[in-house]
């Protein structure tokens, strides 16, 4: 593998993890907020 392939793999890992974790949190938040609304009703 060329050096650029390793470079691209490392950067991809960073951004996939960042956006993946943000998405996971946003999903959890949305689910909880709808649960709160349901409980309030």
């Amino acid at each position: 593998m060329s050096e650029l392939t390793y470079l691209a793999a490392a950067y991809a890992a960073i951004w996939v993890a960042f956006f993946g974790y943000s998405l996971y949190l946003a999903k959890r938040l949305k689910r909880l907020e709808s649960e709160v609304e349901l409980l309030n009703e």
Partner: protein
């Protein structure tokens, strides 16, 4: 209403105004990616090397040496048979695993620190040097590897402070902050290991070795993995004690390259910062970009924690 306001006060302290954190993070990340990929040149980075007559030396994938008159690039292990000093260089001769003779020359102009011990015949029996080695394109991983290491330390420091605050006040909000920061720190610690490992393959010829920095980083990852495993209903106090004690592994990981001999690049040591000003500038911008991302993700994570708390409370009050 008063209760809800109280709960959101902490989230506000972490700047939950997403418009500017998102915008700031996005702009800085784009700028640092541009600088790290396009503007910054591939660099020379410092490497600690120890040559011992009769000992073995590991030449990294970034080092060249001569075999049968031809230039060969590592990684390779050389059994050192002699170390000589000329006017302009240190010349290390030894045998490769296949029995061929290899000669590794380190120009004195590339050496920043040197400790040499003379042998009985007047030659050098032991040579410890810090010398700059050209790193190539894969070195650009460094800009974000350092950034995520910084965010990891920042997150675990939040866990430490929040755990202490929980033990003092037993306030639920501190437990939420401790969990949120530990989660982020754990994701960052995973990324530190992954990106470091990806860099190590072209540099050292292997994905992993038991170097002190790598080993302490793995221990740190396991320690906080244990912390997240420990967390659960009714475990707030135990988690807080663990969160305080676990922080000891963070400074240990950072000073490991000063406490023990390492093949990990030492960019900052007792002699100062071993990097050019352009490299430092790009690295600092990447650090700020990662800090903005941390603020954004942290605020989101705290919001999730507060919402979970609200749900628990609502369920309790319905049951009552």
């Amino acid at each position: 209403m008063k209760e809800i306001l109280e709960k959101t006060r902490l989230a506000k302290r972490y700047v939950v105004h997403h418009d500017w954190t998102r915008l700031g993070a996005a702009a800085l990340v784009l700028l640092s990616v541009y600088l790290a990929f396009i503007w910054a040149p591939p660099i020379n980075a410092p490497l600690q090397s120890e040559f011992v007559e009769g000992g073995s030396y590991f030449a990294s994938g970034k080092q060249s040496f001569t075999v049968d008159g031809a230039s060969v690039t590592g990684p390779a292990s050389i059994d050192v048979s002699s170390i000589e000093e000329t006017d302009s260089a240190y010349v290390v001769t030894g045998l490769l695993g296949d029995g061929r003779e290899a000669t590794l020359t380190v120009q004195k102009a590339d050496v920043t620190q040197v400790v040499a011990k003379e042998g009985s015949g007047g030659d050098i029996s032991r040579l410890e040097i810090v010398h700059s080695v050209f790193q190539g394109e894969s070195w650009r991983i460094f800009y974000f590897h350092v950034g995520i290491s910084w965010v990891m330390a920042l997150a675990f420091f939040h866990t430490f402070v929040a755990s202490l605050a929980y033990l003092r006040t037993e306030g639920q909000r501190w437990d939420i902050v401790a969990q949120a920061s530990a989660e982020i720190g754990f994701v960052m610690a995973t990324l530190v290991l992954v990106t470091g490992s990806i860099w190590a393959k072209p540099a050292w010829g292997t994905w992993w070795n038991w170097d002190p920095r790598l080993t302490t980083s793995l221990v740190l990852w396991l320690v906080y993995g244990g912390y997240l495993g420990l967390r659960g209903e009714g475990m707030e106090r135990q988690s807080a004690v663990y969160g305080v004690l676990a922080f000891a592994s963070v400074p240990l990981t950072f000073v490991s390259i000063r406490l023990w001999r390492t093949v990990h690049p030492t960019t900052i040591d007792s002699s100062g910062v071993n990097m050019g000003s352009s490299i430092v500038m790009v690295m600092l911008i990447a650090l700020v970009a990662m800090t903005f991302l941390f603020i954004h993700v942290m605020s989101l994570s705290i919001k999730v924690g507060l919402a979970e708390e609200k749900v628990k409370e609502a369920k309790r009050s319905i049951r009552e």
